[in-house]
């Protein structure tokens, strides 16, 4: 029996999203026990997230209060933190996964694995030199590339699967736990809705609308929700219900919205545990970026994810290929709480159409979105989930950049050589070439600085006074990581490996850097190979006007 600990010191949504990895681990080896270390403030998830054998908690709120409030001795905070970790420290773990990728999780990974060489570790942790060490290239991908790369080409959940080395498995076995009493209550409400509308089962789809997220920048505007409900009420095939948490802010908002409709709307108020039953029994859910999205994914309930403001859907969007993501065009997004007015407002009609797609009531070709709004559909390939723009306007350069970056990653990690550019078949030739020229220029500049760094490295080995020139050229080379070109990806890998140098010997470190520079040179060649493949495909496709295979998008 293998004993696995996952450290996940993040928020509710991130904890739910761990459910995919746990499912895959358990399906690949049913005898494995999986435990989760989370903050105590999210303890309520223990009643809801299935498949976890044991939960451990750090009482962050109490520790913080004990440490920061001057009435308490700091010794109390130290002791409390230590005591919270005693059981974990005394358990024999075979594997520990750092799912947190923050400093706290990383220090704790080092704490729990120190003096225990038998524990197999996945993710990042600190060495005794306080240098960070990564368990694999996927750990570099997750911690060094995805946070920096503007339009992430790999989903976090997939990154964790590759990091741990387990193949994604379809969901199985009640990943969201529910109580039969709650299930019955929700069923009764739905039956009543159908009975009151004189509709037989299957004729009406009940759609839940989540009113609030944890961040106002992500919220769907109240007037948009009202407009959306009006559209839904005009459609005899759907019935809207409002979903709220048991708190005054959401109750007040639901009350205000309901007042617009003479208090005729159905409002379902549920805590985390009961919410699992609600999600399980609804036909579709419309939600801004909240933990509910991750619950829907684990319940396989189709969903429209309305992605605004800080919501980073490319990294952590819906993982269900039957759901859709509605977003302002990526070129207008800043992924923060600023400049929302210029971010292309998502209209009620846009959400309504995305919902119809999710319910398979309309075809993709029938969708007509507002300006600068895009619907993305999740697709699964050998790397995992990829978001393909399927309706609305999108920026071809951004999509190419994402797509080719993913292709480069597939080539590097999976030795996959297939490149399907059918997606770009409608793009104008000059735009494809303009993008390619820009990327090639970036490669040229990067290569120039790489060669200069290599030259200065060799000179510095012969003459110590040239070391400064080497350092300057290395810094210039690393400056390219600020750019968001495909060629930045191998450079990020190089940077992470340079940052992880552990030897106390300068000569030894210089030798490793030299090897890494040559490796980088080879990796950049691979980027060029990707571009050449792409270029020849463009030419082949355009000159021969041959039919390219369609995308693997579920057609409705």
């Amino acid at each position: 029996m293998k004993n696995v600990l996952i450290i996940n010191l993040r928020r509710l949504g991130d904890i739910y999203s761990t459910g995919h990895l746990i499912n895959s681990i358990k399906q690949s080896s049913p005898a494995v026990t999986v435990s989760l270390l989370i903050y105590k403030e999210f303890e309520s998830i223990t009643r809801s997230l299935g498949n976890v054998d044991q939960f451990f908690f750090i009482d962050r709120k109490k520790i913080t209060a004990l440490k920061k409030n001057p009435i308490f001795s700091p010794g109390l905070a130290i002791e409390k933190f230590h005591n919270d970790l005693i059981d974990i420290q005394q358990t024999n773990w075979d594997q520990i996964i750092n799912y947190s990728n923050d400093k706290i999780g990383t220090y704790l990974s080092s704490y729990l694995t120190a003096d225990k060489p038998n524990i197999e570790f996945f993710g990042i942790k600190y060495l005794t030199s306080q240098t960070m060490t990564r368990s694999s290239d996927w750990a570099i991908m997750f911690n060094d590339i995805l946070p920096c790369y503007a339009h992430t080409p790999v989903h976090f959940i997939d990154c964790y699967h590759h990091l741990y080395g387990v193949t994604w498995s379809p969901l199985k076995n009640n990943l969201i736990k529910t109580h039969p009493k709650h299930d019955q209550s929700v069923q009764d409400v739905i039956e009543k809705i159908k009975k009151d509308g004189n509709l037989t089962d299957g004729e009406i789809k009940v759609v839940g609308i989540q009113l609030k997220s944890s961040d106002t920048s992500k919220d769907i505007l109240a007037e948009t929700i009202i407009e959306l409900i009006s559209l839904l009420l005009d459609n005899s095939k759907v019935f809207p219900v409002l979903l709220i948490a048991p708190n005054k802010q959401e109750q007040d908002l639901a009350c205000d919205i309901n007042a617009y409709f003479d208090n005729t709307l159905v409002v379902i108020e549920s805590d985390l545990y009961a919410l699992g039953s609600v999600i399980k029994h609804l036909n579709c859910i419309i939600t801004p970026d909240t933990f509910i999205k991750h619950m829907c994914d684990l319940s396989e309930t189709p969903m429209v994810e309305v992605s605004r403001g800080k919501s980073p859907f490319l990294k952590q969007g819906t993982y269900n290929i039957n759901s859709y993501v509605l977003t302002p065009a990526l070129s207008t997004r800043k992924y923060d709480g600023t400049n929302l007015e210029n971010e292309g407002r998502i209209k009620a009609g846009d959400i309504y159409q995305a919902m119809q797609l999710a319910l398979k009531h309309i075809f993709i070709s029938e969708v007509n979105l507002s300006n600068d709004i895009t619907i993305y559909g999740p697709m699964r390939d050998e790397l995992g989930i990829y978001y393909m723009p399927i309706c609305g306007s999108y920026d071809i350069e951004i999509e190419l950049s994402r797509y080719l970056a993913r292709h480069y990653i597939k080539r590097t990690f999976n030795r996959n050589k297939d490149l399907d550019i059918s997606f770009f078949k409608d793009a104008k030739n000059f735009r494809l070439h303009a993008w390619l020229d820009c990327e090639k220029n970036a490669v040229t500049e990067l290569t120039r600085d790489l060669l200069s760094t290599l030259k200065h490295l060799l000179l510095s080995q012969k003459n110590k006074t040239k070391t400064k020139d080497f350092v300057v050229s290395l810094e210039r080379l690393l400056g390219h990581t600020e750019m968001h070109h495909v060629a930045s990806i191998p450079l990020h890998f190089f940077k992470a490996q340079v940052d992880s140098l552990t030897s106390d010997s300068t000569a030894q470190n210089v030798q490793v850097v030299e090897e890494l520079l040559y490796k980088l040179k080879g990796d950049i060649q691979q980027v060029l190979v990707c571009f050449k493949e792409f270029e020849s495909l463009i030419q082949d496709t355009r000159s021969a006007t041959k039919t390219v295979s369609g995308l693997n998008i579920p057609q409705t």
């Binding site: 913080t64 004990l66 001795s73 700091p74 010794g75 130290i78 002791e79 005794t128 306080q130």
Partner: protein, 223 residues
Amino acid sequence: MGLPITDNYQIKTSKTNHKIPVINGIHLHSMYHPIREAENFVLNHLQLLRDKKNILVFGLGFVYHINQIVIELQKIHGDDYKIVVIEPNSEVANDCLSLNLLISDKVKIYHGLSHDRLYQDEELINFLLAQPGIIAHPASFNLYKSYFKNFLQYKAPLSAEQVLMVIQDEQIKKFISDRFMNEEDIKVALWDYSQSNHRIVNKLDYLFFALEEIAPLNGDAQK
């Protein structure tokens, strides 16, 4: 901070035949009708009792006011409430307890304890962390004003030597005494230590660094 001195203490009987403690000539409850006085007193705190089910009371007296708080809390929160009473005078507290006047077992009384001792009590700490409502019994509060004010304004000692006194775990004790023995402010010392780039020789270093990330000396904890 030492405990307040009582020059004169006696127990009298009210017109309603209730026992009344009198300290340094001050009657802690009404000599006419202590129960009615308590009822009127608690009426002024009803909103607080609605908002908070945990109440910290300064001054025990002979618990007439506390019993009234119990009655109101039970009406509002059922059995889901807790009262903690701080009373500097152990003599009063012992007499009160021997008279068996208290009507609820959900009242915890701390009496005759210094501030340092109080702030080392785990149960009291947990109670304070839950941010209780505070009610001061006026007669007791005025009598021991500086004791209660200093309780509210208490600052825990920060020297390594005193911090070590509250820590039970021997490994942690050794770790702190090996590194910070002469430090006067352990909070600053821990922060400085976490910012240094030294080689890790003890795995507890990682634990302390993580603690500084959770609750840094300055600024907010990580979200």
